[in-house]
Symmetry: C2
Subunit: 493 residues, 2 copies
């Protein structure tokens, strides 16, 4: 680790990465390699002697890049976005450069304190209730992912319940969410030992736009209570993964309170939008929540990973997750003068992730961030309009943020046939490499999801994406119609 060698090589890497961004539209968005492609072109063991950086960079270009699905491409519309920005990237660089391990305050006071401060900043931008700020009993912490966020609060809630009802009552604890909740909740239950059949994923449908109905929840809780079970955790979602449904926080929060349940809000994707005043109302009811989570790494220009969690009662987290071995003891911690974030998370070690969040907020400023988010939402609206004027397509659920859920709806064919056609459409569209979309299923309908949110996406990319979809749909429909005319109703292309 010689500083001048670092300088020289890192400058080369900067150029490599800048060139990557310059040429990013030239790659197929979805990697087109076959499973096992890399083993065929990489040696079986590590070299004995050092190789040159140029060799390695050449290999990255020739062997790695073809195996990359380009999340930063302006034509990436799959899943939810994973934002990279100059500020986020610089923050990552600095964090990697300092390479501290900030488990306890003393191991780098700036890492802990900056995190606390910047999470207060962000809480204020979201107009979260004061209880979530670090000045009271609560506070914020950066987790790696929303999966970890929901896990740590589930554990805190579980342990609180077990302290009340006895630890042998674990088989009685019940978790509630809609059937649209992220799979991370079920995984958290599995990890925390909550019995699978006590994980109630309550049915939603188009009548509520796939939001959890308070009536359905109340009914489920009543039944469970009557059976001697213990409702202890409710997870509501603001912006579900399939269709960005928004659960009615205010009504759900009241039910959680009445039943003394921990109320968690997962706003992993849509939380970012709620810094815009016109979307903030989707968080009404957050004052009833015990914890609130959003992913700055999705749509808020902060490179992965940076999932932001706030709790009202930090002591509940700490009771579940703290450790205090002799070799980590120190005056500041023993004196209760500081936060030790190791006790707010699963791992011990942690990176200096607040740097990128802080730099993002300072280098862009709040006003630009609002414009950034609004622009994506406008682009999604534009796409929604394009789809809705083409009568061959259908918007399946109304758009709320920057995700459009749509499908091809041919004049003929049953639901299975329509689903197959949409599956085929997704397959051919993605295999062009021109754009990448992903899918979901709602009420049995196979749906294409176009999520706007890559920082480089502009109006022209939306238009081009729509053209790809239209063209492929035309070809596909012709094939299908030929099928129909020939009386072959198996829908095979």
């Amino acid at each position: 680790m010689d500083a001048e060698q670092l300088r020289e090589n890192a400058h080369k890497m900067v150029d490599f990465i800048a060139d990557y961004y310059k040429s990013i539209e030239s790659f197929p968005v979805l990697s087109q390699v076959e499973p096992g492609y890399l083993r065929k072109i990489i040696p079986d063991s590590a070299p004995n002697q050092p190789e040159s950086l140029q060799n390695v960079l050449d290999d990255i270009q020739a062997k790695i890049i073809p195996g990359v699905t380009h999340w930063q491409s302006p034509n990436f519309f799959g899943y939810f976005p994973s934002n990279s920005s100059i500020a986020g990237f610089l923050g990552e660089m600095l964090s990697g450069g300092l390479n501290i391990v900030g488990f306890s305050w003393v191991t780098s006071p700036a890492a802990t304190e900056l995190e606390t401060i910047v999470l207060d900043w962000l809480a204020k931008m979201l107009k979260l209730p004061e209880d979530f700020l670090s000045s009271g009993q609560g506070g914020g912490v950066i987790q790696g992912t929303a999966s970890e966020a929901v896990l740590v609060v589930l554990l805190a809630a579980r342990d609180k319940a077990l302290r009340m009802f006895g630890r042998n009552s674990i088989g009685k604890l019940v978790v509630y969410a809609s059937d649209q909740t992220h799979s991370a909740l079920r995984k958290a239950c599995q990890i925390g030992g909550i019995h699978a059949e006590n994980c109630r994923l309550l049915k939603t449908d188009s009548s509520t736009n796939y939001a959890l109905s308070p009536e359905v929840l109340t009914e489920a809780i009543s039944q469970d209570t009557a059976s001697g079970l213990v409702p202890f955790f409710l997870c509501a979602t603001v912006g579900t993964t399939s269709s960005t449904a928004v659960d009615p926080l205010l009504a759900l929060g009241k039910i959680a309170k009445d039943n003394k349940m921990w109320f968690h809000i997962d706003a992993a994707y849509a939380g970012s939008a709620c810094i815009c005043p016109e979307y903030r109302h989707y968080l009404n009811g957050v004052e009833e929540a015990d914890s609130f989570n959003m992913n700055a790494h999705k749509w808020l220009l902060t490179n992965f990973d940076c999932s932001v969690l706030w709790v009202k009662d930090r002591s509940a987290l700490i009771q579940s997750l703290s450790t205090n071995p002799e070799y980590l003891k120190n005056k500041a911690s023993e004196g209760n003068m500081v936060v030790d974030y190791k006790d707010w998370q699963i791992p011990l070690g942690r990176r200096f992730r607040s740097l990128k969040l802080w730099m993002m907020l300072r280098l862009y400023g709040q006003e630009n961030l609002l414009n950034y988010l609004r622009n994506h939402i406008e682009l999604a609206k534009y796409f929604e309009e394009l789809v809705s004027v083409d009568q061959r397509f259908e918007i399946v659920v109304p758009r709320t943020f920057s995700l459009v859920c749509f499908r091809l709806l041919p004049p003929q064919g049953d639901e299975d046939c329509i689903n197959k056609m949409n599956r085929d459409l997704l397959e051919v569209v993605n295999s062009t490499g021109k754009i990448f979309l992903s899918h979901t299923i709602l009420s049995g309908k196979y749906i294409l999801r176009l999520a706007v949110g890559a920082p480089l996406t502009e109006g022209r990319h939306i238009s081009a994406a729509w053209k790809v979809l239209q063209d492929e749909a035309t070809t596909l429909l012709e094939q299908y119609m030929k099928c129909f005319w020939e009386g072959d109703d198996e829908c095979s292309t």
Copy 2:
């Protein structure tokens, strides 16, 4: 995200980081700030308008760096090292630049495949049994930390046991390790719902150099089995955190096998050394293990985080940790043609961490890595020799790798007094800012730990560290002796 702006700004950041490394010895190793220092000098909310990069860099220099404990300083000897290297840093840069989220193969095939391949490389360097390679039923995966590694294998073992004995038997499951095991194990038990009193941390002492005794383990298992409990998990450590004790793997592995327990080896720190043929014997017995973990981010020149875990039966992990929501389904995964690492870990999202490991191995080569590790061990040996010729000091446990455990041993004073003196010595030494060490307690003795392993550490830093320790010890002893002469045996300085 304009490529040319990225280029310009990232070049500035490279210079900032290279300059940091150039001047790293000028900073106090342990940050000398007071709790709450940062809030006083940072605004209460995020700016509305963007600020310049220069402003932010100035603030980093003036406000953040003073709050950093410099893990990369050649004078950092605390805890265990957290290696940064040029290759590791470049790998981090590239990973941050591509900013993909590699939960499933399809989201970037190269991320998954490179990880599998490079972990096979590393397994071969460690001469792990073939069962751990990806060609069979096993394979490797990069976790964030050793805490996550032990958690995921504990969950796999727990669920295997619950499938066998019924899920209501969780209160009967017993975990074994020595009392020197890392606190992460106890935390994993707490997360996984293993009852606290079923977490057996068996007593060790100086007679085994703090390694777990097979006899003690056998006795504990017999007692538990007789009481109707179910032994299911044994964690052995190669290189404990307090003193780098090495548990006798071969004997322990046999016991685990006889009792049908999952056998995990935590070699978080010392695993790296075992790529040297002369240290490989410490892993003898690994062929009995179900899982093996080491942290490349500690001592193997790979920037944090990169904790490498191998398992013999990947299906056990996957059974505990897989999720398969519709919105993540894809042809490659459905066809069982690929690895989806989301099912091998707690979070869903994951960074492209194999890049840095791959680049580290290629840019340094195996031979240089052996020399790198051997050099640190030689430096630790040198320090051990310096300590052992000064009769005011004592080496408390024999050195095995690059950690030296020692203490000041004055001619007078009881154990409490000696402990206090060593606590004071650590305090004054660290507050000089010249070096940073941490401590532990073994058999009631307060011990100073000097861990060699920062990439920049050379012989001259060891000599200088020793001089700081000697000088501060001289001053301290004078104060204490004055105390004694004046008949004040409260040992207060």
